[in-house]
Symmetry: C2
Subunit: 342 residues, 2 copies
Amino acid sequence: MKRKITLKHIARELDVSISTVSKALKNSEEISRETKEKIQAFAKLYNYKPNNIAISLKNKRTKNIGVIIPDIVHHFFTTVFRGIEKYANDKGYNVIVCVSDESFDKEVINMEMLANGSIDGFIMALSAETQLKNDYNHLKQVTDQGIPLVLFDRVTDEVNCDKVIIDDQAAAHMAVSKMIADGRQRIALVTTEDYLNVSSKREEGYRKALEEHNLPVREELILRLPYQYEDEKLSEVFFATQEVDAVLCVNEIFAVRTIRFLEDNDLRVPSDVSVIGFTDGILSRLSNPTLSSVAQHGEEMGTIAAKMLIDKVESDIEEGEEEYRTEVVEATLIERESTRSS
Amino acid sequence: MKRKITLKHIARELDVSISTVSKALKNSEEISRETKEKIQAFAKLYNYKPNNIAISLKNKRTKNIGVIIPDIVHHFFTTVFRGIEKYANDKGYNVIVCVSDESFDKEVINMEMLANGSIDGFIMALSAETQLKNDYNHLKQVTDQGIPLVLFDRVTDEVNCDKVIIDDQAAAHMAVSKMIADGRQRIALVTTEDYLNVSSKREEGYRKALEEHNLPVREELILRLPYQYEDEKLSEVFFATQEVDAVLCVNEIFAVRTIRFLEDNDLRVPSDVSVIGFTDGILSRLSNPTLSSVAQHGEEMGTIAAKMLIDKVESDIEEGEEEYRTEVVEATLIERESTRSS
DNA sequence: GCAAAGCACGAAAACGGTTTCGTGTTAATA
DNA sequence: TATTAACACGAAACCGTTTTCGTGCTTTGC
């Protein structure tokens, strides 16, 4: 086993000082050509690589960024992460991921673990519980220490920092308007029961689109479901009312399950009922029928978030004007088989 | 902005030495009760947290583990990662993820980036390109340095280290045997064209099961597809031969697309054709019909891999007997709508 | 009353680098 | 020949901890 070699080893072996070795390996003008060549050759031979930890301690820069997301087995977060990872890696940064599991406590613990020198900045999406508690002290503590922070998707106005979001309201508005244009009249909304920022924005967009087209907003057509639900739940809307001709779902899974439920109850998609979901993931592309879906462009969001963060990290202004930006990524409606004009 | 406070600050402020502060905060017996209380109170007040980087440098342990996977937007890898992350976090470790994107070069670069002190050990699944090139020098270099390494799923015999795999051959064997027991006779295999270790193991299991049940292995029933393929490709088997009554697919996506293709060509699943896939992910559970699938228990694999790695990292024996283990996680066949006896 | 112990704390090295500021030697200049 | 500049390198501080080894002072024991 060849242990890692250090500057000290090289210095001892070649009978020069540590500083000389350091400078030689950086090709400093201070060192004579022959000494440099000797040292560089030796370093190459023994495959010398500087110790990252030592460098981090010296420059107070780790070249690591911390990413905290509620869930990793989730298509949207995964695509955002890919965007972050790619951009960061290109810039020479590594990414440390922590999963909050939608829990406030885990989010706090993870942030504290990383905030003590392990990372240069954070990118995160708030956990559901954090949004419910409305407690953002852990975030403020981090920003107070001068650690850059970028929030994406699940954001809050309570914290001053860079953000990247999609305009959920506009996206839902677009989807509903599309259905109305296709001749749909009784449009249901299937959303989550917990009060996530994104869900409520989508609901707003849904309501606004109906109102703008002079259609009544029927509360009985809005169904709020937990993440784990029984199919019978769906019957409240689709059986009791029996007149739905279109459904907007706030995620892919709800959409696919809705389609399946409809077809099991002899309603055809899209001829009888038109369906649109959010999160243009693998399910949308491969379900049967394929699902029209609002693409959130997760990878792009990730790239933007990473760029914003790294720009902040590498800017020397430290904390000048405190100018924070919010980037809005435009959502796109991908039309597939689950929507056709009636 | 309150900058991070250090031992030195506390020492200066309280007019004691740095060593005294350090010991006091560790509740050392050496320090008098009153001094300890004073220092601890001060530290609490200013929210002192020791700098991770400095500690890492001192004990040559980062409490970080590096995970390198070919793709993050992939259900199986994602579940494995979740298992790793959970276990590691419980043990006080953070996880740095790098994505090799199935590229040999990226894999090498990522390993080198992390191997210079950033992590205490690696968990990885080999990239497709690495398996093709059959070049594992980057792995050997890492293990030669005494850095623990655990391979999962995509492994190789060329490297001596801990491994965790599923018995792909047995899993495929089980799936095919099940179909035969259900009365299927002409069973097709849809697999990848690149020579991944896992695919070939599954093919072996497929062949073996047929042979053991005295069914002929027809090469024309084995279809090798690229990751991105056109549906027409499928017709080679299913139209040309026209007699398939069951299909084993080496992943979920191939399975779902196969089902869709069959149904578009007026073959009913499962009555006419029975289908089983690998990777029991979201697609299997939500496709229509739901897909019978070989569950690889990714999260369990992740947990095991993390445990193996951390045990190695924390064992002091350094490099004693060089005893490496290979854990085999048993696959399970989850039966759903796409298989029913004919 | 003096040596030995015990107590409470500090100095300094170490981890592995970077960087500033000398300093001794040689060569060029007045 | 004496002064100076350039050159090539080394000493040492520093980043923030931990830890070993003193050391001065008080207390105990005889």
